[in-house]
Each structure stands twice: as structure tokens, then as C-alpha cells.
């Protein structure tokens, strides 16, 4: 049972500071933070919510044990995903 950080991580350290299990470390290879699956408890017994996923500012960066993003697109910024796509298409077209 472990969460996972994927490569959209911006290395802001926020999760690293709040993990109760010291399961998060900087990966020199991947150049962002990663979760040690042997140490991660998903905060069970410590907190109601997994801490890394409660502070991470980047959507779709922390996955649950089934590989599903805990913070899906639009859930943290409030930007509807279709609006984001539309605006990015406009910028590309310029």
C-alpha cells in the first residue's frame, strides 16, 4: 500500500516536509521527489487524509495505490479542464 509521485512533480518540498513516515525523498535520477513504497503508510493511523496529497499544489501528480490521481485535473486550480485545453490551443495557434 503506497502512494506514488509522478514526473509532473515540481519539487516544491511541501510533501517532503509534512510526510509523517519520512517516506519522501529527492530522486537524483528522476529529478523530482519520489515516495519509498516500503515506508509509505498512506498516513493511516496518523491522519485522516494522506498528507502529501493534501498539500501538493499540482494536479494529477500524486497517485493512489490503484494508480488513480488523488487530485484530478481542475480540482486544485478550479480551472475546468476543457477551458484549459481551449486556452492552450489558442496560445499554440498564435
Amino acid at each position: 500500500m503506497s502512494l506514488e509521485i509522478v514526473d509532473s512533480c515540481v519539487s516544491c518540498h511541501a510533501c517532503y516536509d509534512v510526510c509523517p513516515s519520512n517516506a519522501i525523498e529527492m530522486s537524483a535520477l528522476q529529478k523530482h521527489f519520489v515516495i519509498d513504497p516500503k515506508k509509505c503508510t498512506e498516513c493511516e493511523g496518523d491522519y485522516a487524509d494522506p498528507q502529501c496529497a493534501s498539500i501538493c499544489p499540482i494536479e494529477e501528480t500524486i497517485l493512489n495505490a490503484s494508480g488513480i490521481p488523488i487530485n484530478p485535473l481542475g480540482s486544485l486550480t478550479g480551472i475546468p479542464p476543457e477551458k484549459m485545453e481551449e486556452v492552450m490551443r489558442e496560445i499554440q495557434a498564435r
Binding site: V10, S11, C12, H13, A14, Y16, D17, V18, Y47, A48, D49, Q51, S54, I55, P57, I58, L76, T77, G78, I79, K83, M84, V87, E90, I91, Q92, R94
Partner: protein
């Protein structure tokens, strides 16, 4: 007859009267403050409009984590060509930050202030932030330390802040109303939960207000920053200004929202506009009352280095500072000499102004309309920059009561990034657009082509006052405009627009 040079906290009402009790008697934006506070801020470029022409500041990016989300911020973006808060190129450890601070202090002796401003929230990174402050207060005692914060963790940090002798704190307070807060802050991280909407905003507001009170009780100087978001908090900021002033904040800095779709922020993508320069100025004037308003803020990056408006960060990257062997003891001696030299220059300037001041007598019976003038300067309070080299212009208002600083206009505001890089409009048309509303632009030199285009746009270029003090030159040009009858007609740019 000479005109007074009035301070920026002495607003001139449209009727031509003076709204401030200190009008005409002050010569310095900070003069209404108690001596103890003036002593703390006289050489702080972010707090003193006068000082920002002479003294430099730097930020060290040791605080990447954040505990809230603001709709004007995007934690993903990092572009070295972009300048706005929350953006950095290189994150530093506390040890690296100390090394960089010493290198900058030795090479830019007019650097007096070291701030920690992000790229996240400094107080959401207490270990890294306070480790940096601890080392700096021991090793570089001639540098002032300051910190800025969103305020959420502030009450928990006040004790620690007062221990490190950090006497300047900036709190960003955009609202005191949770319903408005929910339109600015989608969530906060609080007591180990992510809390959304009005509930989160309410906690943030309570923490900010509590932190402000705790700091002022302890005699720590507090500046309040507010981002003006048209249609969201613009009218409300007048109330914010009144409240924070009553609680002891000594300076209020209302800044324009920066929102471009390319930044990927909520406001940028959703099309929220920022304020026009005249809207910002009107709100700053309304918030002013008898409170000190700050108008020279450049909303700099969390790793900026140099005078406000310039960024010399590129000269002090980690690999470059590794090769600089700084003897800080020696550097401190040089720095002290440079600071004394600047103090002398400023004192001379003050004395000269004092001699020029005439009592509250208007220049002419029947008030002349005020005129906005733009100035190209690279510091020292003089007109010393070529028009084509200016990346920003300082804007002043000349009126029958004198000259007051209004704000700055950036030329190439932000890198628009990615595929669109290199397709920017020409620098010249960008400059002309940035000068909207100004009738004169004062610079050290200017080429033929921009001269013509400026005149066509109704802005009169003037290179006759190179190397002269800004205030003096503006007064002289204003006097000339009065005498030539130029002010009897409507502003040129308006008559052009209607022609």
C-alpha cells in the same frame, strides 16, 4: 516662483485642494513616521520611495513550499525571462543562500536588504527560512533582514521572527471578507487537511489579522501588500486599507493583478483582467487618506537581485558565486563607506529641496491642470537613461502643488514563453503603449525614429534634462508648459485621439 515638491502621501484632489494635513510641509514620503521607524526604513528600497533610487535589495529563493493556493499563482511555471512573484530559476539551500548573499553584498555594496519571499511561502518553510536568517544575522550583521508571507502560519512564527531580529514583515492581505476570499483562494492546507472555499478563506483571514496584531504589538514593522483584482476586491480594498492601518501596519502597497493566459494561472486562463494604470492610481489615492501608500513596488521575482526594476540575478548563479572568494570583513568596510556616501548625497538633496520650498502658495491663481510625465532612469534619482534602453518608466504627476510620484510602467512586461517567444511587438510600440496618458517623456537621449513616433502619439520627448534630478526637471518642464500656454489646451494625446 518655485513649486513645492510634495510627497507621495499628499494626494491632490481633483478640485485642486489638498487632502493631507502634511501637504506642503513634508518632503519625504516617510516624514510622518516616528523617528524610530524612519531609522529602520530610510535605506530600505521597498519601503522608501526615496531610497529605492539608491539602495538595492535581493531575495534568496530558499522557500519552495506553500500552504495555500492563490488564483494569481501557478506553481508550475518557471521562465528565466519572466519577472513576477513566485518565479525563480534556481532554488538554494540555506548555506548556498548565505554564500550568494555575501557575494552580492561584496559586489553590489548598495545592497542593504535581504528578503525571503518564496517562491512558496517563507513561513511554510520555517526550517529553511529560519536557518538562513540565523546564519545571516551572525555573519552579515550590516544587512537588514525581511520576510513576506501569506499570513497563514504567521501567528506560529512571530516568536521565532522576533528572536532573529527581523524587523520588517510583509503580509499579503487581499481581503477581510471570507466570501471574497473564496474567489481568490481556492484552498488552504491547515491542521493536516486541505480546506476549500469560504471555510479555508475564513481561517486564512483570521490568521492574517492575528499575525498582524501580534507583530505590531511587538514593534515589528508590517507592510501590507494587496493585489487589486478588478470586480473581485477592488472596492473592498479601501476597507482593507482602513483596517490594517488601524491595526498598526505602517505601509499599504496596492499592486495590480498580473494575469496572462500564458502563465497558466486561474485568473490568466479564465480571462480575469488586471487594472489599467489609471484605475490602480485612483484606488491608491482613495486608499491613501493619511496612510502611507507605496507606489514604487516592482512585484519582483523571489530571486531578484539589484535595484528595484533591475535584476542582476544572472551575475550571481551558483556556479559563478562558487568562484568568488569573498572576504566579508573587508566587504563590510567598503559597504559602510558606500552607505555613508549615499546618506550624504541624500542629505544634500533634502537640504536643497528645503531651500526651494515656498509655503502653500499656488503657482498661479486659477489652477492649471495636472500633467503626467514619464522618466527614464537607472537610479540615483536623476534622468540618466536612453529612451531605447528603458525597460520601465517612472511616472510623475506635476500640478500646481508640485510633483508627486505615481508609479512605474514596464515596457516588455512579461515573456510570453514557448512558441510565441520572439514574436513580440516591436519594443518601440510597446514603450509607446506603456506611456499612455503621459504628455512628456524625459530621458537622457533618444533616437530620431522614436522621437517622431512619440510626437505622433501625443507624447513630447525631452532630452534636455539629462543627468538632472528628476523632481527639478519635471518642475522646470511644467513651468515651461504653463508659460507657453500648452496647458490651456486639452492634453495632446486626447486631441490626437479625437482628431
Amino acid at each position: 516662483m518655485e513649486l513645492n515638491v510634495v510627497s507621495e502621501e499628499a494626494p491632490v484632489s481633483s478640485a485642486g485642494g489638498c487632502a493631507s494635513s502634511s501637504c506642503g510641509s513634508t518632503d519625504d514620503q516617510l516624514s510622518h513616521l516616528p523617528d524610530a521607524i524612519r531609522e529602520k526604513v530610510h535605506n530600505h528600497p521597498c519601503y522608501s520611495e526615496e531610497a529605492h533610487h539608491y539602495f538595492a535589495r535581493m531575495h534568496v529563493a530558499v522557500a519552495p513550499a506553500c500552504n495555500i493556493q492563490c488564483h494569481y499563482c501557478n506553481r508550475k511555471y518557471d521562465c528565466s525571462n519572466e519577472s513576477r512573484p513566485g518565479v525563480v530559476s534556481e532554488l538554494l539551500t540555506p548555506e548556498e543562500a548565505v554564500m550568494k548573499t555575501k557575494a552580492v553584498a561584496a559586489n553590489i555594496p548598495q545592497m542593504t536588504v535581504l528578503g525571503i519571499a518564496g517562491p512558496g511561502d517563507p513561513l511554510a518553510n520555517p526550517e529553511r527560512t529560519f536557518a538562513t536568517f540565523r546564519m545571516l544575522s551572525e555573519q552579515t550583521p550590516d544587512i537588514k533582514l525581511c520576510v513576506s508571507t501569506n499570513g497563514l502560519a504567521l501567528p506560529d512564527c512571530v516568536e521565532e521572527l522576533s528572536k532573529h531580529n527581523i524587523d520588517h514583515v510583509t503580509i499579503t492581505i487581499n481581503t477581510v471578507d471570507p466570501d471574497i476570499g473564496a474567489q481568490i483562494y481556492p484552498w488552504i492546507y491547515w491542521n493536516n487537511r486541505r480546506i476549500y472555499g469560504v471555510k479555508g478563506a475564513k481561517i486564512l483571514i483570521e490568521q492574517q489579522q492575528k499575525g498582524l496584531e501580534m507583530l505590531t504589538e511587538r514593534g515589528i514593522l508590517v507592510k501590507v501588500n494587496s493585489v487589486m483584482i478588478p470586480g473581485v476586491n477592488d472596492q473592498h480594498l479601501k476597507e482593507v486599507s482602513r483596517i490594517v492601518k488601524a491595526k498598526g501596519a505602517f505601509l499599504h502597497n496596492v499592486m495590480p493583478l498580473i494575469a496572462e493566459a500564458e502563465h497558466g494561472t486561474f485568473y490568466g486562463v479564465m480571462g480575469q483582467r488586471g487594472p489599467e494604470p489609471d484605475e490602480l492610481q485612483a484606488l491608491q489615492d482613495e486608499c491613501a487618506g493619511d496612510m502611507n501608500m507605496m507606489r514604487h513596488c516592482r512585484q519582483c521575482r523571489a530571486d531578484a537581485v539589484g535595484l528595484l526594476g533591475e535584476d542582476r540575478g544572472e551575475e550571481f548563479t551558483l556556479d559563478k558565486i562558487a568562484e568568488m572568494n569573498v572576504d566579508y570583513g573587508k566587504a563590510m568596510k567598503v559597504r559602510a563607506e558606500v552607505h555613508a556616501g549615499i546618506a550624504e548625497e541624500l542629505a544634500e538633496k533634502q537640504a536643497k529641496k528645503a531651500r526651494l520650498v515656498t509655503p502653500d502658495e499656488p503657482l498661479r491663481k486659477g489652477h492649471q491642470r495636472p500633467v503626467l510625465m514619464a522618466v527614464a532612469t537607472s537610479g540615483q534619482g536623476v534622468i540618466n537613461q536612453h529612451f531605447g534602453h528603458a525597460t520601465e518608466f517612472l511616472v510623475y504627476e506635476a500640478s500646481h502643488t508640485g510633483v508627486r510620484f505615481i508609479g512605474h510602467r514596464k515596457v516588455d512586461q512579461y515573456c510570453i514563453g514557448g512558441d510565441t517567444c520572439g514574436e513580440k511587438e516591436s519594443a518601440l510600440s510597446g514603450s509607446i503603449r506603456a506611456l499612455a496618458g503621459c504628455e512628456v517623456v524625459l530621458c537622457a537621449k533618444i533616437g530620431f525614429e522614436p522621437w517622431e513616433q512619440l510626437e505622433t502619439a501625443g507624447i513630447k520627448p525631452n532630452g534636455e534634462h539629462a543627468m538632472e534630478p528628476i523632481d527639478d526637471a519635471i518642475l522646470e518642464v511644467y513651468q515651461e508648459m504653463i508659460e507657453s500656454g500648452a496647458l490651456d489646451a486639452a492634453p495632446l494625446h486626447l486631441s490626437h485621439a479625437s482628431a
